[in-house]
Subunit: 287 residues, 6 copies
Amino acid sequence: MEPLLFKNIVALALAEDLSFGDRTTDSIFKDEVAGAEIVAKEAGVVAGLPVAKEVFSQLDQKIQFKARLLDGERVQPGDCLVELSGPAASILKGERVALNFLQRMSGIATAAHDAVGKVSGRGVKIVDTRKTTPGLRLLEKYAVRVGGAENHRFNLSDMILIKDNHIAGAGSIREAVSRVRQRCGFTVKIEVETATLRDVQEALDCGVDIIMLDNMTLSQMSQAVELIKGRALVEASGGVGKEQLEKVAETGVDLISLGYLTHSVRILDLSLNLHTLKTNPPEKEGK
Amino acid sequence: MEPLLFKNIVALALAEDLSFGDRTTDSIFKDEVAGAEIVAKEAGVVAGLPVAKEVFSQLDQKIQFKARLLDGERVQPGDCLVELSGPAASILKGERVALNFLQRMSGIATAAHDAVGKVSGRGVKIVDTRKTTPGLRLLEKYAVRVGGAENHRFNLSDMILIKDNHIAGAGSIREAVSRVRQRCGFTVKIEVETATLRDVQEALDCGVDIIMLDNMTLSQMSQAVELIKGRALVEASGGVGKEQLEKVAETGVDLISLGYLTHSVRILDLSLNLHTLKTNPPEKEGK
Amino acid sequence: MEPLLFKNIVALALAEDLSFGDRTTDSIFKDEVAGAEIVAKEAGVVAGLPVAKEVFSQLDQKIQFKARLLDGERVQPGDCLVELSGPAASILKGERVALNFLQRMSGIATAAHDAVGKVSGRGVKIVDTRKTTPGLRLLEKYAVRVGGAENHRFNLSDMILIKDNHIAGAGSIREAVSRVRQRCGFTVKIEVETATLRDVQEALDCGVDIIMLDNMTLSQMSQAVELIKGRALVEASGGVGKEQLEKVAETGVDLISLGYLTHSVRILDLSLNLHTLKTNPPEKEGK
Amino acid sequence: MEPLLFKNIVALALAEDLSFGDRTTDSIFKDEVAGAEIVAKEAGVVAGLPVAKEVFSQLDQKIQFKARLLDGERVQPGDCLVELSGPAASILKGERVALNFLQRMSGIATAAHDAVGKVSGRGVKIVDTRKTTPGLRLLEKYAVRVGGAENHRFNLSDMILIKDNHIAGAGSIREAVSRVRQRCGFTVKIEVETATLRDVQEALDCGVDIIMLDNMTLSQMSQAVELIKGRALVEASGGVGKEQLEKVAETGVDLISLGYLTHSVRILDLSLNLHTLKTNPPEKEGK
Amino acid sequence: MEPLLFKNIVALALAEDLSFGDRTTDSIFKDEVAGAEIVAKEAGVVAGLPVAKEVFSQLDQKIQFKARLLDGERVQPGDCLVELSGPAASILKGERVALNFLQRMSGIATAAHDAVGKVSGRGVKIVDTRKTTPGLRLLEKYAVRVGGAENHRFNLSDMILIKDNHIAGAGSIREAVSRVRQRCGFTVKIEVETATLRDVQEALDCGVDIIMLDNMTLSQMSQAVELIKGRALVEASGGVGKEQLEKVAETGVDLISLGYLTHSVRILDLSLNLHTLKTNPPEKEGK
Amino acid sequence: MEPLLFKNIVALALAEDLSFGDRTTDSIFKDEVAGAEIVAKEAGVVAGLPVAKEVFSQLDQKIQFKARLLDGERVQPGDCLVELSGPAASILKGERVALNFLQRMSGIATAAHDAVGKVSGRGVKIVDTRKTTPGLRLLEKYAVRVGGAENHRFNLSDMILIKDNHIAGAGSIREAVSRVRQRCGFTVKIEVETATLRDVQEALDCGVDIIMLDNMTLSQMSQAVELIKGRALVEASGGVGKEQLEKVAETGVDLISLGYLTHSVRILDLSLNLHTLKTNPPEKEGK
């Protein structure tokens, strides 16, 4: 992902934490240079290294940031993710912001990876939702991909998803799909949310691309899959937890969407450790 | 909290989700007006109602937003938090963004409330950290307060927190505190991170305001509290989980800081339901 | 379209024109109020009324803006589009910016409408491209819809379009489609650009959703349509001018994409006329 | 023109097109590097090379951008304007945005150059208007200069232009000029719009710097020029088309302002061609 | 001046002061409403009332702001400028920011008014410079006008001012003026900085609009005025202090530019006093 | 201070002055390179060198900026602060903005240094206030530190300052302090404004950290200091001028806050002189 796409959120995060300066660090450090590393404290999948790099790059061009891994690689406790060197004060100022991004994104990648692992070999895809943290959607959806799962639509513009309230507004699935087809163009796929097998049949008759089974029981899901017979992709949705993943996968659905991947993130624990520290001559540019 | 403080992050969240428009909703709805409500699907503490209000207000001034509760009140499954009325299309467009804020903030408030409950009556305060989601710190710290816990410092500017790397840089706790006192002014409190009882004694000798006990055992914490004897506030820190809260509280510390309150949030499940829907005559201003 | 989606470009346009104030108007007018109207000077299709409204709304909340038409309606020379009333100075300050938006958007809608008219009854859709004016894509694509044509993809994110350089990079159409299918998810439609009937066959074998015939002759297009037989949508693309529209439509393609709709716009001529002017008592808030 | 003045509109254009990433290119390319060139497909005058350079520079610092011409030089079909080399994916991502700027600006420069050519040797200047595309005024006025024409005022702040509505507000040309002289300062030139020879005489009596002849016939213009006798600059204005340019120039006016230069732009057709492509080893920073 | 032109700097100032909230006020006040007034503590000329109004308007729409004066009116100690009523907490939060604008702008207006008074009746104008506070130029130049003085150019774009370094670059005044005439267009006035009578003669020969006498003695200025004889405006410039104003005016120059008006402002002392305070029932929207 | 913290205000200042370009400089210069220096015209303390550097860096990366001093050093008339070399046009375009920052910040540092000098040896600290220029608080408070004085709180968030209106709202100092203690947390120091010795006693009884003596006479201040006996820091506040500094210091207060340091700045006079100028071959990237 190009830094262009996340440099604003990085700037926002730095402004939020730096505010009017790091008063502790600026009182204690002057021109010391340091070496440091970012280390895993638990096992998981890393995501967000280019974002962490951008944090330090915005703070101080004199910091060297060397990633030892690529996003998507697994780490074990103690593994080094990044080596940093440069002005000690700048490294310390960026520490928390860089870790806040990296821990959250790695937490998401790890959860995605775990979910994918639970259903592997069954031909089902794990996908995310729009239940992301405000302002971080791009990064969270990227982390989902890094973890091996796939992205559902990014926002309200890049796909049609006809939900219960839309159906109520149009009067029927048929009418809703018809309006979308008339007004919305040929570039987007159409998905319809269904609650019953009757809904599923109606959506199928409309020739939609994807049919979402919302909060159905396992047996309903199996019946729906049977009914659809590959004529549309089938998505299981609605509060599927880690425990139910395998069972849901067995119903034969094509996609399982998991809100928890992004709405209830557990971070991956990482830390930044300074390992060397020495003094440097000052430059003549003010302090 | 004044909308001024969060209207930018709300605008960012809306831009992220609306992108180039809600193509589903705009294909299906025209001038219908609707009534809707935001309802709790599980028990917890509500936080973020003014933020949800701001979401709908930015989207469409014609939406009426009536909160039925104040932030900080407890809800049970089925309780109504908010009643909405106005253009159906606008309500649907704001639904996800409003819920993304409200569920996250309520999740934090609920977790804070639970933690406070676990140590109630022991004269210890639960406090947060800077391990917040980039861009959302203000809202997350607000949610912590709504839940009954307190805020530790907001950022690198509003308090002095001398951590291990600072001490290493200065050479000793004494030298670090001395540099801060010289360069940093009379307006801020000083906290020092300590790892041993010896550190605690040194910090105490420097007359600091708060002493953080970092990753100490319960017995070390008790000894530290004994040593300090109220001459500074004592903060227990470092991976304290929900289960250890009571034990840590019993050591007599004044503050327990919990990273998980904001870095690993579990949302409070809420939903927005449309309950009425009718058509309205169009205005002459284009579509 | 919601004002949220274009209020930033409106603010930018106002800042660009107002700079440090309208020195002519501020020297001449004080508290006069005026009535004015925006009138068509030639025939065409109107688009952009909500944008013009936003211009005046950002300038001065005291201006009343009453649209006499909806976007998409046809006007004849002399027809009134909008009635304005309020502070004369504010109306004059917004005049140029409002017209710059309205004339350009109406020019696009008119051109789209003309193109659609030329192929009506042949089951072919006129669509736009990404050759839009930097910063105005959303408004220009909206104007295309208002004129009765359809939007092709909005940007690089909301659809897959595999072009010649992508095919060269992957080695073949087959390999390019395969990589997209692996890495890009189930939510987006896939279009492939083809230059020969062999390309068309290869794309067809890959089961893509849309096949673009790039700069083909009329006879090649007919052959391609024959070959595809409805198994994918067929798009004619590449420098199709107004004169060739009918001929291209006769080949049986489903879509004709026209860059000129947005890259070489001819405005629809409109003017704003003040018709009444009277003096008002000043408010006590400074000048 | 310094990049400082247009880097925001470039960032806006990139955000608009990249949205949440170029999904096609990111699926197909990894670390390939490419050589490419921007080539003219028709004859004209080039403008906007520094803007195109800024596009690629914001996207990826690893792209080398070498202009083979300076803005203002003429090109023939097949001429190379720019040579690019660097990451293939980045070049493809910037292609459309760079061309959208470059084609539009070159179209304006070409039209300006043509108009200037039509009146050459007659001592008359071709000038632009404020009928520019919202957000692009600076770039469009720059392109006008590149084409050899001159800029009329940039916005409502940098010159006084008393138009019919101002005259109506003040009651007379004399009163309008008098108010401007009193309130507006010594730094700006004053132009007055006139519709009749009587207006011209009144403006002349007020000693204004420039007199605009609005929508006058050729014979009225000649009379006005006669009357003014060099005591003010004379501007012909109001729907002057390419065909009338010579005739209007013969009337002896000093300036002819042409709205069409910027309000109804025909682009100059250019294309970006990749000519080499090879694979590169990845860097360790995530993908 | 329209709020559009200063709402960004007001937002910036509020963000700077409010940061993450007014912790004192939010701890003490809940729903009290108050009446307050802004009162002069010394005599002077008021400027900035619309800016102060914008401050409170951005903070809280429930605040009523009633100006008792217009910008440009004189106040005596104890005079009330503004009456405020609304939520006590909001009034207190905006107090400092509103006063910071109002005191500075009134200080500038007062200084301008004093300078104008010192030279009244001599046909000379007091004008400002570009030595303004970064970010506040528009407001400071407005305050200069409110005080009765005039604005010199606003920035590097709206007039030509050929200074010593430009003359050195071109080789001579003549060459510099010639380049400007060729490249810069007919819309702007040309001023030349001169250091000797010979420079003055050269500038005069070039037919420039304004001649600046830079750091000349009183006798040199008189000679220059004699030489120029009304064929150009004459500006005295360069460290003219309050004491020399009359003497400089007597030389017959048309304009005296004073950097100190904006670069070394002495504020006009004002204060905001709460005079009533009562409690209000809370709204149900969170705290 | 890191450039991150002031690059936005620098960008704002450049946009304000450059507007649509430096028309004088761009007409006269092409590719000349120059050497220049920034020189003191009077004695004082320098502050703002990193800000001046940022100005030129944003304008043109080809400018070399070499500071000959560090912020905080004293200069005499004629001393060189900075040596610049690079494109002559770019140096001239940045001159005014760089000087506007540097002169103002150096003026503040000089005033702070003078005030500190007046009370040296008495154990009293000179501190600033929130009476800063909107948008420049960070830079102005930095300049205060550079001059040797200390910063009072930065904004409404980083300390508690209970003023007269807060006390009125709460009913008493005791109640105000109690509410703050309950609601506001352990991280911030508490200061109370007092007008009488009775207030001082009440604040002292509440155990606050700092007691402000507002507008007290010298004798009241001495009594207050006596009363407090080191149990809280004592701040003298309220219109203390340069002349009273010594007398106030003699009363034994710990802190004297001076609004005039930032609200009524007298700049330090500096100038930028070009000393060499030569022509350079153009680059092929347009003009």
